[in-house]
């Protein structure tokens, strides 16, 4: 009988350890079955419409999380609601590791003072521009029919 108790203790410890796992392993969280897409209310379907095609593939933990987000959505401003719906699908398509890393970065970003936050957003635009330029240079044939930056200057050489 002592063996049974030890077995139960080990099982309890394993379950406890699983519950303490990082958010990357949300699949181990014991979540009761969540509603299918067809069972959602019209309001929930409207809010979560970007996830319509993905819903049946989401596990119970993620469905429960999205239903909680749908509740918060109602208290957001129209601008925030639009941003959330705009990013919803792309966010759901990320890998768990990518989502975890993004959450960590967002936490850091959120702790910055407003000027710093603006600076990061500005830097992002700069970075994107730089990346686009690099991409364009790769696509254009080297030394080919590229248009000179200043044709007049080129002609004067």
């Amino acid at each position: 009988m002592a063996k049974k108790l030890a077995g139960a203790l080990i099982a309890a410890l394993c379950i406890g350890a699983a519950a303490h796992a990082t958010p990357t392993s949300t699949a181990v969280i014991a979540t009761p079955p969540q509603p299918s897409w067809a069972s959602l209310s019209v309001e929930q379907k409207t809010i979560l419409s970007p996830l319509g095609n993905e819903w049946e593939r989401l596990d119970n933990t993620r469905r429960k999380k999205w239903l909680a987000i749908a509740e918060r959505y109602k208290r957001m401003t129209p601008t925030e609601q639009a941003r959330l719906q705009d990013k919803m699908r792309d966010w759901a398509m990320l890998s768990p590791e990518q989502r975890l890393a993004a959450r960590e970065r967002f936490k850091e970003f959120n702790q910055l003072p407003p000027e710093e936050r603006e600076n990061v957003k500005q830097k992002w635009q700069e970075y994107r521009q730089q990346k686009d330029d690099e991409q364009r240079r790769k696509v254009e044939p080297a030394g080919g029919d590229t248009v000179p930056a200043n044709p007049a200057q080129e002609a004067g050489k």
Partner: protein, 125 residues
């Protein structure tokens, strides 16, 4: 003298001695016997609930049942803890996800690992 004969002689002797006890001693013996009988407790009527309690206590005292109940309580506590932890984690995730997705910071800026490095380098420059 064999054993049976010896026993017969002892009994005979005891019976004869019994006849020779004084009346005074017989009266004292009688009084002592009656005192002992009156001191004996009367069997009390046991209520039904007390019987049930006694039954449970008797059975709970068995080690097997105690271990099973302890194991069951442990597993139930673990299951409740896991459920509570799961709910807490989901609440935390929905908190941060809704804040992240409704913020005006582009999601790509948070996902792009190279941007983080680039940002650090650009700040050092």
């Amino acid at each position: 003298m064999n054993e049976l004969h010896f026993a017969f002689r002892v009994r005979q002797h005891l019976n004869q001695s019994l006849q020779q006890i004084d009346d005074d001693k017989l009266a004292r013996l009688k009084a002592a016997r009656e005192a002992a009988l009156s001191a004996q407790k009367e069997p009390a009527a046991v209520p039904a609930l007390a019987s049930a309690g006694h039954y449970l206590r008797f059975n709970f005292d068995s080690r097997g049942l105690r271990f099973s109940l302890a194991a069951l309580a442990l597993v139930l506590a673990a299951a409740l803890y896991v459920h509570w932890q799961g709910d807490k984690l989901i609440a935390e995730l929905s908190d941060i996800d809704s804040a992240l997705l409704s913020d005006d910071v582009p999601m790509e800026a948070l996902v792009d690992k190279d941007f983080n490095e680039w940002l650090k380098n650009s700040q050092e420059r």
